[in-house]
């Protein structure tokens, strides 16, 4: 084995610079009770809130054993008159009644930096992927105040999810908080994961760093998602913070805050970050468990009184910073699971009131085959078209109106034969739009593809296409446009707008040529194109 001279030099330097620490007074306490992940410590009169407390598990043992053992920390969360209650961040079986507890003088912090990219870590940044330990000279506290109003600017830059229904009608901007809400098995995680995967289509200088926080999930699910990221090459710009259902409730409670600190490091470098909290319902349950064990008084549904503050202070850390502060951003996609579609329950209403919009996924739509199962009527983005590219703005508003009209008329679909021609045409158009908005898992559409498909649908290009063939027709159209006029894709990709000249080229040249090439899709009496917008 080759001798690492650099390492030896570093060790020699450390030895030369070392001087034994001077004895100094430390604040200590004694564990009087331990159970359910909570320790009660007598003494520690100078403990501060959220201070890290080191539990001495090696007292009376040889020093070599203490070197090998991992330090056991607890976080002080209840400061009472004569005792301190702290939640353990490790195995409680290592704690004995009478063990000494030492105040470290530091609040809970995590290492942050570039070396977290591509890693799967615990909320304390311990590696879970078998890789080396995370070492970083920079540490951020887990609890940090959010940026004040003066340090922020309006959300203007779009975040492309690659999902047409979202990018067209519920656009998300960089720095926004957009809630993904729905029942179990409606595709919430899929929407979030597909958004992360789609970021590899962004040019490197514009690509956001992604953080996926798994809270209380099955380890098999997280493993499957990590595999998806690796296979798609997304891990190079992604951090996965994992607190599975088998982790102590304290770690599940800390996970999103720790991940937020990791994200804030990049935001403060002027970069954009996308953070997914999957999911905050389980986070609320973990916090409820910790609070009940700390004997805090239970409120509605046994949640503690500050459950709103838990999520509001977490989500307020997502922001778009002003140019003076670097211009970085954190876009948050929190996920909430509802029961039987009840969005008026306690935790869902809390989070809806905090976020800047929601994407509502319905089980009925999912079962009907509309996937992503987004209920466009109930979903909203409060940032709106400010977060859309010019290209998408040019085509999306018409589609939104068509779909809204279709939803109103949908109830009459069963009477199709009794309706007038115009109403029937509107219904069929709406059905084709719904079909167009369906997308497979990990099937990402670039901005160019989305704009061309929506524009074509608005202009009635698919009006002669059977509904079940709309998806195929749209894909073939995109390929046709790329082959016939490469400048159109180049313009949309580079300038991200959709000027009249480009629209005219599509209307007057490309679309007619496409329909000539596919006569079975040509409607016999096609309505005249509605003109350039």
């Amino acid at each position: 084995m080759a001798i690492d001279h650099t390492l030896i030099a570093r060790l020699e330097r450390a030895l030369a610079d070392f001087s034994p620490p001077e004895p100094s007074t430390e604040s200590v306490g004694r564990v009087v009770r331990v159970g359910d992940g909570v320790v009660e410590i007598e003494g520690l009169s100078s403990a501060q809130m959220a201070e890290m407390i080191l539990i001495d598990t090696a007292s009376g043992e040889e020093v070599a054993q203490e070197m090998e053992a991992k330090p056991l920390y607890a976080v002080a969360l209840n400061l009472e008159e004569e005792t301190v209650r702290a939640v353990l961040l490790g195995d409680e079986r290592r704690v004995r009644e009478g063990s000494q507890a030492r105040a470290t003088g530091e609040v809970l912090s995590v290492p942050v930096g570039e070396n977290l990219l591509g890693r799967v870590v615990s909320p304390l940044a311990e590696p879970l992927d078998g890789g080396p330990n995370i070492t970083s000279r920079t540490r951020y506290p887990v609890e940090r105040p959010s940026y004040p109003v003066i340090a922020r600017q309006a959300v203007k830059q779009p975040l492309q999810t690659g999902i047409t229904a979202i990018d067209a009608m519920i656009p998300i901007g960089r720095g926004q908080r957009e809630l993904i809400i729905g029942d179990r098995f409606t595709g919430k995680t899929t929407v979030a994961v597909d958004t992360i995967l789609n970021q590899r289509n962004e040019p490197k200088e514009r690509r956001p760093i992604c953080v996926y926080v798994s809270i209380g999930q099955k380890e098999s699910k997280t493993a499957r998602i990590v595999r998806q990221f690796k296979d798609a090459g997304a891990m190079e710009y992604t951090i996965v913070v994992d607190a599975p259902s088998s982790a102590p409730a304290a770690l599940q409670f800390l996970a999103p805050f720790a991940a937020s600190s990791m994200a804030e490091y990049f935001m403060e470098q002027g970069k954009d970050v996308l953070i997914v909290y999957d999911d905050l319902s389980k986070h609320a349950v973990a916090y409820r468990q910790v609070s009940l064990l700390l004997r805090r008084p239970p409120g509605r549904e046994a949640y503690p009184g500050d459950i709103f503050y838990l999520h509001s202070r977490l989500l307020e850390r997502a922001a778009k910073l002003s140019d003076e502060h670097g211009g970085g951003s954190i876009t948050a996609l929190p996920i909430i699971e509802t029961q039987a579609g009840d969005v008026s329950a306690y935790i869902p209403t809390n989070v809806i009131s905090i976020t800047d919009g929601q994407i509502y996924l319905e089980g009925d739509l999912f079962n009907k085959g509309v996937r992503p199962a987004i209920n466009v009527g109930l979903s909203v983005s409060r940032v709106g078209s400010s977060a859309q590219t010019k290209a998408m703005k040019a085509v999306a508003s018409k589609m939104r109106i068509e779909l809204a009209q279709f939803r109103e008329l949908e109830a009459f679909a069963q009477f199709a034969s009794d309706l007038d021609v115009a109403t029937r045409a509107r219904l069929e158009k709406g059905q084709r739009l719904v079909e167009l908005l369906k997308q497979g898992k990990a099937e990402h559409r670039t901005l160019f593809e989305q704009v061309v498909m929506i524009y074509a649908a608005n202009q009635g290009v698919f009006d002669g296409v059977p509904i079940e063939e709309v998806q195929r027709a749209a894909r073939e159209l995109v390929g046709f446009v790329k082959a016939r006029d490469v400048e159109i894709q180049k313009h949309i990709d580079e300038h991200r707008d959709f000027p009249e000249a480009v629209q005219r080229r599509l209307l007057e040249d490309v679309f007619p040529a496409f329909l000539e090439a596919h006569p079975k899709w040509k409607q016999e009496s096609s309505p005249a194109p509605e003109g350039v917008h």
Binding site: R10, L11, R13, A14, P21, T25, E26, L44, E62, R137
Partner: protein
């Protein structure tokens, strides 16, 4: 008030009386009379248990624990640790319970109430271990 809180409060009051110099027998009979008057005689044994626990805790908190690595270091350890007790405001009469703990390697460690000072070689060895481990992980230059 829950019974547990009640007996702990009663025990605390009894302890205060003892610290003021009252006789143990008087304090105990006073406690019994009070419980009889308030029809809570069933709580007497719990109150006595709480009084004992609080008294033991009070003594433990007032006593300083001095762990010494080797018997031949005892005199030096006592002298050095006394300086710290004085600095912390401990009365002259504070009892010091000394034990031999060879795992300290050398030196001593003093604990009084919620304060500790560790002047053992074990602490120095662990600090050296930490410094070398950090140096092995990354370059400080």
């Amino acid at each position: 008030m829950k019974p547990k809180q009640f007996v702990e409060s009663l025990a605390r009051a009894a302890l205060l009386q003892l610290e003021r110099g009252e006789e143990l027998s008087a304090v105990l009979s006073g406690m019994q009379n009070y419980l009889t008057r308030t029809h809570r005689t069933a709580l007497l044994r719990f109150a006595l248990r709480a009084l004992r626990a609080q008294a033991v805790g009070r003594v433990r908190r007032q006593t300083a624990q001095l762990a010494i690595a080797r018997p031949d270091e005892a005199a030096k350890a006592r002298a050095e640790s006394r300086a710290y007790l004085t600095r912390w405001g401990a009365p002259e009469s504070t009892p010091v319970e000394a034990i031999i703990d060879p795992t300290l390697i050398g030196g001593w460690r003093l604990v009084w109430r919620d304060r500790m000072v560790d002047a053992s070689r074990r602490r120095a060895v662990l600090a050296l271990y930490g410094a070398l481990r950090n140096a092995a992980r990354y370059d400080h230059n």
